[in-house]
Every structure is written in C-alpha cells, then in structure tokens.
Amino acid sequence: MAELNISERQAGDVTVLDMDGKITIGEGSVALRTAVRRMLEEGKKKILLNLAGVGYIDSSGIGELVSSYTAINKDGGQLKLLNLTQKLQDLLTITKLLTVFDVYENESEALSSFK
C-alpha cells in the first residue's frame, strides 16, 4: 500500500485531489509533488487539496505543500486546502502557514471561493 494515495475528481473547473495517508519525507512528499506537477502540465490550475485522510505530515510534507502553493500561484492558479485534521491545523498554526493558505472545512464553500 502506498504511503499516500491521491485520487482526482473534477468539480466544475476545480480539480479536487482527495488524499489519504501520510505526507512525509520520501514517498508521500514525492507523490504530492508528482500529482501537482501533473495537474499543471494538464493545465489544471484550480486545485483543492482534500486532506481529510492525511493523518500525518512532517516538515518535508509541509514544505511540499508550500512548494505546491508557490508553483501553482506562479502559474497563475490557485491552491486551497480542505478538511485539515486537528493535528495538521495545529502544525500550520504554529508555523504561521494558516496565514498563507486558504483553508476550508466545507467543500461547497471551498469550491465557490475559486475565482
């Protein structure tokens, strides 16, 4: 079983990536990077990461979220986060990254926030 499983679905012009597993150094971080790169290559620039199934992330995984955010912004797109677990929310709070990421608890609100 892969460390991080990512499944893709389309909601209008927003691509939702449902993530399940761990985003940690090595396989998990690489899986996220590969998925985001593929989205950009396919011209999908409105991306919602559904992190409900991500129970664990380390500094490498958080770095990968930041890297994804900047890569998508640079390409004129938007990356938003949905359904953070309490632990992930705590980590983004202490790192002050909650001030960077646009975070939602409700999918329809998240989807309608994309411009």
Partner: protein, 137 residues
C-alpha cells in the same frame, strides 16, 4: 513511566526515520505516554533522524545514525548522533518570520523545539554531532 533504554544504530538511509519512529512508538506505548505528547515526540524524532541522515551524514550509507531513547520517571531523553561536521543551530533562520514563510525547508528544528522541553546539540571531539532532546511529564 517505566525505566527503559532502547539503542539503535542505523545506516544513513531515509528508511531510518521510520525505523526510529517505530522504536520510539513502542517505548511510548509501553510507558503509557498520552497521545498528544506521543505525537510531538514522534515528530521530533522523525525530524532529528531526517536531519542526521540528510544533513549530518549526507545519505552516506557507510555512515551510521546512532539513536538512544531513555525513559525514566517523569522524562524521556532522546539522543540522535550522526557522523557529520555539525552546525550552529543559532544560524538556522526562524521559519515563522514573514520572509521565510514560503521557504520549502527549514522547519524540522522548529518542530523539535516546539514539541520537546529541551533541545541542544553537542559536537563531539571524536567527530559527529549529537542532538539531545528531553520531554518532561
């Protein structure tokens, strides 16, 4: 909390991170450490071993990472030793400063300091660096 010491000597591969995490998880479970503290300790161990493998030993598999976990009534002490040249922790930029928020690395030591009560580094005269972390209960 039971008195127990676990020692590991692992080659400098990224798999060492999960092996160290599994070892400390077992010790924490046997010691009855609560879930919140266990989350932070697990994270600090993973970050310390990651740093030892990547930055200390630079993934040279001929070099080892030596780890010890020592539980005692009221505290858990963790030491992670690498064979690298060492560094000055004071020179690590604050990852929560505005100008560093979008950096993709540099949060590992911040997490170690956030979740543990004591974190310090010793450059050993015989070579290598040891990070020592303590969590008190």
């Amino acid at each position: 909390m039971t008195v127990e010491t676990t020692e590991l000597k692992l080659p400098s591969r990224i798999e060492a991170v999960a092996e160290a995490a599994a070892a400390v998880a077992g010790l924490m479970s046997r010691s009855g450490i609560d879930e919140n503290a266990a989350f932070g300790i697990d994270m600090a161990v993973r970050e310390a071993v990651t740093n030892a493998v990547l930055h200390g030993n630079k993934k040279d598999e001929k070099k080892f990472v030596e780890i010890s976990f020592m539980s005692s009534p009221g505290a858990l002490e963790i030491k992670v030793h690498d064979q690298g040249a060492g560094f000055n922790p004071e020179t690590i930029p604050d990852p929560t400063a505005d100008e560093n928020l979008l950096k993709t690395s540099g949060r590992g030591i911040f997490f170690m300091r956030s979740f543990m009560d004591e974190v310090d580094w010793v450059i050993r005269p015989e070579g290598g660096t040891t990070v020592r972390m303590v969590k008190r209960f």
